[in-house]
Symmetry: C2
Subunit: 434 residues, 2 copies
C-alpha cells in the first residue's frame, strides 16, 4: 500500500457523532481519497510520499460553501446599507453591465478562491456569467467547485441574446463534463422573476439530461413573493413546483420567505435549500426559517453568497451567526444547537449541492478535502468540545488545507498562485472602476 | 522635539468623518500620547527612538471592549446552548464557586488579555471577583483596563461575607487609585436582583466619592424584568433611577429589555449603556433596542461579555453582527449603518466607560492606543471605504498593537508574556476542572 500524503499526530474530533474525546490520530491519503484514518497507535508504517506532522492541529472535513458569486469580490464594499432592489438596480446591475468580462471573472474569482481556501473552504457552489472562467480560476487556485452557468431572460455578460441562454448553458455543461476532477458543472437559473416559465422548464430539462444540479434564487425577499404571487396566485416555491422544477437535484437558494406549505413542498420533493444568513441580514431580506426546515427534514446547507452582500467569504462567521440568530425573537436557546450547524456546513451543504456521498466526512473512501486548524490560539483555549469551532472558530485558525489530496495551503500560505500579484491586480481594477 | 515611536507610510482612514480618501501618513508618539499625525509629506525629520514602517497597514484607534469578565475564559465552551438561568445556576455559578481563586483569575485574565490584544482591543472594561488580579494580569500583558470590583449580596469568591462587599470595593479603589497608567479602578454592582437597595446606594456613594464609574448588569432578560417589576411595580431601570443611581458615571450593561420610558430615563440621566450583541443572542436574552438608543442620543457602546457566553473576545464579530442584526425583523437596511457601528466601538464605548476624552480618536493629545491592520488580505480587497472593516474586518488582520505608546503586538506576535506557556497552563486547569 502506497500513501501519497500521511498526516500524523493530528487531533481528531469525533465528528459527526460529537460524542467522546478528541484523540491524537493519523490520516492517510492516496489518489485524492482518504484511505485510512485512526488513532496514532494504528498508524501504518509504510512507504509514504509526504508526511505532515499535524501536532497542535485539529482535523476537520473542509467547509463547503453552498452559494457564491465568486467574481463579485470586485464589488465588495462598493455599495453597503441599501435595500436589495436599490443595491441590485442602482449599483450591482450597472456595475456588472460595465465591468464583467472573462478577464475580470477569472481574476476576481482567483481572489475569491484564495480567500475561501485560506478560510478553510474546500468546495464552493458558484453561479455567475462567464462561469467557464470561474471554473478555470478555481482549477488554477486549487478549489473544488460546482460551477453553475447563469441563465437569465435579459441580455447578460457573455450571452447578449437571451434566446441563447439555454444553448450557452449546454455548451458550458458539454465543455466541463468530466474534464477536471475539481469541477462539477451545473446550471443556475437566476430566479422565478427573471426567467420565464419556458426558460425555467428548458433549464431543468437540460440539467436532467446532463444529470447536474439546477440552482435557483427563490423566495429571497418579501417583494419577490409579492411580485410572483399577485399574477400567479402562487408563492415562488409553489410556482416552481407547479412547473415540475423541484426534485433532489434542484437547489433553492435563500428561501427566506418560505411559508409552511412551501416547506412541506420542499420536504416532499426532497429539494435542497441553501441559506446565506449574513447576506440575508445585510440586505435586510429577513431570516430564513431554519428551525422549521430542520424540523421538517428539509435538506439544507449554508452559503456565504457573493462578497458584495456579505462582505466576506467566511463560513466560520456564517456558522456562528446561524447558531446564534435563531435563539431570539422568540427566545429559544436550543433552537439550533452548535453541533447541528457544524454538520450543516459540512455534510448538509455537500449533500445539497450534489457532491460525492462521502463528502463532509472523515472516512476511508471520502474525498481528501481536509482542513487542519491551529488550536494553539487564545480564542480556541480551552477546547472542551467541537461546539467551540462554531462559536469561536475563525478563518485565521486555518493552517493547512488539502483539496482532492493536494496540499494547497501550508502554514497559512497559499501554494498555488501568487496571491500578492492577484490582490494588486484586483486593486488596480477596483480603482479603475471606482 | 523627541519622538519615542514614529510610524511611517501607514494608511490613514478619514475617521471619524469617513469622508475623503485613505491617504499615506505618519503618526508620532511620545510619552504614551499621540503628538502628531498627518500625511507623509508633513512627516517630521527629527530624533526618533523607534521607527516602524507601516507600509501596507491601516491605522485605527484601538478597539474598546465595553464589557467583559476576563477570567471566564476558563469556562469558554464549557456549557453552551442553555437558558441564561440554567447556564448561570447549573453551570457557571457552581463552577465559579469551585474554581475561582486569585491564581485562576490572574492566569485566565492573561489568556483573555492576550486574545483581546491580538484581536485589536486596546482597552477593556472588566468586572469580576478578585479584580485586583485581573488588573495585575492586564498590567503584565499590557492591556488598558477599567477594572471594576464585583459587589453582590451573596458570599462571593474573595468576599465570603456579603456585609464586607462595599469595604472590599473601597479597599480595591484605594489600592489602584493612581497606581498604574493602564488601570482605572471602578465598581461593578452585579445586578438589581442580586444587590439590595442599600448595597446599590452604598456602591454608588462609594463610586461618587472616588469619582469612578459604577457598572451594573441591568434588564438583560425578560425574567429579570418580571422578577423586579412584580414586587416593585417598576422596571429594573426605573428601579435604579428611583434609587438615584443613574448619572453620567453609571454604566448600564445589556439593557436588552429597556422600554421607551426606560430609554427616555437613560437619555435624560446621560447614563451610559453597553450592549453585547453576540452574548445577547447566544443566551437567548433578546436584541437590545440599539436603533432607538441611537435615535434617543443615549451614550452607547459595545462589549463582548465574558468568553463563556460569546464565545470569543472579538469586537470585529460584535461590530459585524451589530451592523447586520437590526436590518431585519422588521426590514430596514439602513437601521444601523456600518460607520455608526465603527464609531460606537471606538469613541462611543470609550466615552461610556469614562476613558480620556481623546480616546477613540487619532489626534494630537489622544492616548497612543493604536492598532494597525494588514490590508493585504483577500477579505479586505478591494477597500473602497472603512465600512469594510465592519463587514469583513477580522482579528486576524491585526498586525501591530500599541497601548499607551508601548508596542505590545508586533507582526502579530505578543511581546509581553509567554503566550504558549499561558495557554498550556489554562489547558491544564481546564482539564482538572472538567
Amino acid at each position: 500500500m502506497k500513501i501519497d500524503l500521511l498526516i500524523t499526530n493530528c487531533a481528531l474530533l469525533p465528528y459527526p457523532e460529537m460524542q467522546g474525546p478528541i484523540v491524537s490520530g493519523f490520516i492517510a491519503i492516496t489518489g485524492g481519497e482518504i484511505t485510512a484514518i485512526g488513532p496514532m497507535n494504528q498508524c501504518p508504517q509504510v512507504d509514504t510520499g509526504t508526511t505532515l506532522d499535524g501536532q497542535g492541529q485539529l482535523v476537520l472535513p473542509g467547509l463547503v460553501n453552498g452559494h457564491c458569486h465568486a467574481p463579485m469580490t470586485l464589488f465588495r464594499g462598493m455599495a453597503d446599507d441599501l435595500t436589495l432592489s436599490s443595491w441590485l438596480q442602482d449599483h450591482i446591475f450597472p456595475a456588472e453591465a460595465q465591468r464583467v468580462n472573462p478577464a475580470m471573472v477569472y481574476l476576481c474569482t482567483k481572489l475569491a478562491a484564495a480567500e475561501m481556501l485560506l478560510a478553510g473552504i474546500t468546495c464552493v457552489a458558484d453561479g455567475y456569467f462567464f462561469e467557464t472562467d470561474v471554473a478555470r480560476a478555481c482549477v488554477d487556485v486549487g478549489l473544488r467547485c460546482v460551477a453553475a452557468q447563469g441563465i437569465i431572460d435579459f441580455p447578460a455578460p457573455g450571452v447578449a441574446d437571451p434566446n441563447e441562454n439555454i444553448s450557452a448553458g449546454e455548451a458550458f455543461l458539454h465543455h466541463w463534463h468530466g474534464r477536471h476532477a475539481l469541477i462539477k458543472p451545473a446550471l443556475f437559473a437566476h430566479s422565478p422573476y427573471t426567467c420565464s416559465n419556458r426558460t425555467l422548464t428548458r433549464a431543468k430539462e437540460l440539467a436532467r439530461r446532463y444529470r447536474v444540479p439546477l440552482f435557483i434564487h427563490v423566495a429571497e425577499t418579501g417583494n419577490e413573493v409579492k411580485q410572483i404571487s399577485e399574477p400567479l396566485a402562487a408563492t415562488p416555491i409553489r410556482h416552481l413546483d407547479a412547473l415540475g422544477l423541484l426534485d433532489r437535484d434542484t437547489v433553492c437558494v435563500h428561501c427566506v420567505w418560505a411559508d409552511a406549505e412551501d416547506l412541506d413542498i420542499l420536504s416532499r420533493r426532497e429539494a435542497g435549500v441553501i441559506i446565506c444568513p449574513q447576506s440575508h441580514l445585510k440586505l435586510a431580506s429577513g431570516r430564513a426559517p431554519l428551525p422549521s426546515m430542520l424540523a421538517g427534514n428539509i435538506r439544507v446547507g449554508l452559503g456565504t453568497d457573493g462578497a458584495a452582500s456579505n462582505n466576506s467569504l467566511d463560513l466560520f462567521r456564517e456558522m456562528d451567526l446561524a447558531a446564534k440568530m435563531y435563539k431570539v425573537l422568540p427566545s429559544d436557546p436550543v433552537a439550533v444547537p452548535a453541533h447541528r450547524i457544524l454538520d450543516l456546513a459540512l455534510r448538509g451543504t455537500a449533500d445539497v449541492i450534489g457532491l460525492h456521498p462521502g463528502s463532509g466526512l472523515l472516512a476511508p473512501g471520502s474525498p481528501a478535502d481536509i482542513i487542519l486548524l491551529d488550536t494553539s490560539r487564545p480564542n480556541l483555549r480551552p477546547l472542551y468540545s467541537g461546539d467551540l469551532l462554531v462559536y469561536s472558530g475563525c478563518a485565521a485558525a486555518v493552517r493547512t488545507v488539502i483539496v482532492n489530496g493536494r496540499l494547497v495551503v501550508h502554514e497559512r500560505q497559499l501554494r498555488t498562485i501568487d496571491l500578492d500579484e492577484t490582490m494588486t491586480q484586483v486593486n488596480r481594477l477596483a480603482t479603475e472602476s471606482a
